[in-house]
Amino acid sequence: MIELKNTVKKFDSYTALNGVDLKIEKGTAFGLLGSNGAGKSTILRLLSGIYKQESGEVLIDGQPVYDNIAAKQKVFFINDETVQFGSFTLKGLKNYYKTYYPNFSEELFESLRKRINLPLNKKINTFSKGMKRQAIVIIALACRTDYLLLDEAFDGLDPTMRIIVKKMLVDAMLDRQLTTIISSHNLKEINEVCDTAALLHNGKIVFSREIDSLKGEVHKIQAVFPQNADGSPADFTQEDFASTGLKILHFERSQSIYYIIAKGDEDTVRAAFAPKEPLLLEMIPLTLEEIFIYELEVLGYDSNDISGN
């Protein structure tokens, strides 16, 4: 299990992580979402022992990570900057990593390599961006670590290769309970690959939840209410609905039609709206992308503001 407890990471005067609490259970595929500069990569670098936190704890299976070889051998980090050792051949690169990871399996490496037909004796420099990614992914899987960290996971891979890599991850998850932590801006990918996700903003966790339960919990609601006795359209404010225990993320009204994004399961939404006797009440669950946008809008990260509309 991975735990971050009240973790603070600063770069000079800039605070990248501002008291992060996060728990990642073994065997999950965990998606790290967040705005640009939210602190996703900083978390991955703390977990792989590249950075040291200013305060708080970063634990892998209960052990602090920084300067701890035993803990670091449980983790493989695939950086978003692909491969640093361009003058190595794939064979050379594999042998380099092999010395650091005692669980390395030559057999697994060969079977993965054959599946994607990667040349063993060519310099990594001559590989395309996608091939470099493939090379580091199969080395990472062959190191058979308990934890695999992927920064901008599927960047540079073509659609077929994405499917192959996903299948490799499925095998590793089922064969040895691999825990993967994936940071990505591609919400569709996170939705497919991950079962749990956390949203980061300004160095803090907004939420950390199971994706399936998250989806049933935020709704897009369209409602129309009866006119007042004097014929004027029903006039409700955001507070009229928030007072019933529902968390309103977005509130918009156009004449008598209300567009509301609210947090709460279907029953809670119905219970909150029923007393106002809506003529029409429609609700659909949100996609992960919509959840991302509205959750951040509440925190003042608004696409409308940024675009100047």
């Binding site: 998850m173 991950c194 399936d212 339960s213 989806k215 003529l279 009440l281």
Partner: protein, 125 residues
């Protein structure tokens, strides 16, 4: 055989659950038929194996499938109350949608009468 829509708003585990019930209702999966392993399903549909396992657990809990350790998961003897429950839940949500759109209960009753009269005579709707 299974169709999982990764862009859908419906949670993936719910889609897997509904998919399998749907295939049993349509007669494409029969009692004692074997389901694909969690691994095969996850690879085939390109989804997270934990999600597939969760759907299988839920199907087993509700008695729709049973598992034999070391051999896999199989379709259980269909229990009519489970399937009637699933169909009735669909009916309820359709009726709820009608109510949301302000359709009068009387209109729904007429529709129901119409359906049952025609069904009794073996006519197509």
């Amino acid at each position: 055989m299974f169709s999982i829509d990764l862009t859908s708003r419906t949670p993936i585990y719910e889609q897997i659950y509904e998919n399998i019930i749907g295939l049993i209702v349509k007669g494409r999966l029969a009692e004692n038929d074997q389901l694909p392993s969690v691994r095969a399903f996850a690879k085939d549909a390109g989804v997270n194996p934990n999600t597939v396992a969760k759907a299988y657990q839920e199907l087993e809990r509700t008695g729709i499938i049973y598992s034999v350790p070391g051999r896999g998961s199989f379709i259980a003897k269909p229990d009519s109350t489970v399937f009637q429950g699933a169909v009735l839940a669909d009916f309820d949500s359709a009726a709820l949608a009608c109510a949301d759109r302000g359709i009068d209960k009387q209109v729904l009753t007429e529709h129901l009468d119409n359906i049952y009269t025609k069904h009794g005579k073996g006519e197509q709707l």
